[in-house]
Subunit: 238 residues, 2 copies
């Protein structure tokens, strides 16, 4: 473990929330790896707080599914299996389609303009090959659609499901050959929403997810192979 993630004090939030965000970020970026134990005293020292906010943050991570509790042993970062990712994607497939459909009915003129801009912005950014920025612009595009549903519960759910994919989405974006496909899919989604064609929008969203699914699942299988192939070098020292 790199021992590098730091608490960001710029926010005026209860420590538990700062810790929650910090730990979540660390898990999503892979800084805390699946299977790794979250030891309270250790984390408390590292983040410069007491055990109380750490524990409360862990309770939230637990309900979010990012950590798994083992009685009397504490929390560890949840494993991402192919099955668990299949499950996530199966649900997202439907909810993303729902989002696109609802957006057709509910999107405002301003939001539609913003969506078009986000689409163009994404296309421009793809040319730069700056993966981090591309991922960011991709999120921006989809966020507009999700927000346009005006369904708070749906927004929360999609964000939570996206989290689970976060570590692998990057691999998809890194694949140059997929970039034209990505752009095409975004265009299809945008055009369908602009035309107010729910059916087409839903279909386009499904295609978009299915393509990502292929890449993500392939990556997971690759990871698993690497992992099982590795000698026992992966002992975690302090």
């Amino acid at each position: 473990m790199q021992d590098s993630f730091k608490i960001s004090m710029d926010e005026f939030l209860p420590l538990r929330d700062v810790v929650f965000k910090t730990l979540r970020q660390a898990i999503l970026t892979g800084e805390l790896k699946p299977g790794e134990r979250l030891m309270e005293i250790h984390l408390a020292n590292k983040l410069g707080v007491s055990r109380t906010p750490i524990r409360e943050a862990i309770r939230k991570l637990e309900l979010e599914g990012l950590v798994t509790m083992i009685p009397r042993r504490g929390a560890e970062v949840s494993q991402i299996t192919e099955k668990s990712m299949q499950d996530v994607l199966e649900v997202r497939r439907n909810l993303d389609a729902l989002c696109a459909q609802l957006a057709c009915e509910r999107i405002s003129k301003e939001e539609l303009d913003a969506l078009e801009e986000a689409k163009n912005d994404f296309e421009e950014t793809v040319k730069t090959k700056d993966f981090k920025l591309i991922a960011q612009k991709d999120v921006a595009f989809h966020d507009i659609i999700i927000k346009a549903t005006n369904n708070m519960r749906l927004i929360t759910l999609i964000n939570n499901l996206s989290e689970q994919m976060y570590r692998y989405r990057f691999e998809y974006i890194k694949d140059f050959s997929q970039h034209p496909t990505l752009i095409k899919e975004h265009q299809d989604i945008f055009n369908a929403i602009k035309a107010g064609n729910s059916e087409k929008a839903g279909e386009a969203a499904v295609i978009h997810i299915d393509n990502q699914k292929k890449a993500i699942i392939a990556q997971i299988r690759l990871d698993k192979l690497n992992k099982s192939g590795m000698k026992q070098d992966d002992q975690q020292h302090e």
Copy 2:
């Protein structure tokens, strides 16, 4: 407040989980009413534990959406507005359809038998007019379908969404006139799943939710009227 909910010590779980379940139950049954504050010391005394498990339980309820945090004021039971229920139902409508579709593809022979039995069981129970039992048998029927999807993430999500409807589902079941409809809808769902007809199963599930939606929304509007009509008798004494 009735001051009546008690901790059940029969389980061998961390106190935080016992408290979590206890508080959730109290909220879902309406024992703790929307807007009511959850004061830690108070709850700790009532349940005979310290503040620590109470706080950790509240963190989980917070993420589940059953309580709302107000900085420096603590937690209060979340309000159920018509909008929030519309949002929940909009998502459930889709996920229930997904469940039914997936069940068509994945249900085992044993599960299908169990589903038929649950269906018949429900029909028998409806005759008794025992609302609590009817609700229970209804849950049992749907649980089999949900479990048959073999998608853990979906199961968790549906259970969480069901929770939000819990308080109002009862009102629907109390309405005698709806009983034949309920039975018919269960039959339709069962037949479609038995026939392996995903499309029909999805449609049947949607109809089932839509009918419940009518009843639930009507009930919420009624509640709101009663509430706003009430004189200020609802001051909360100790």
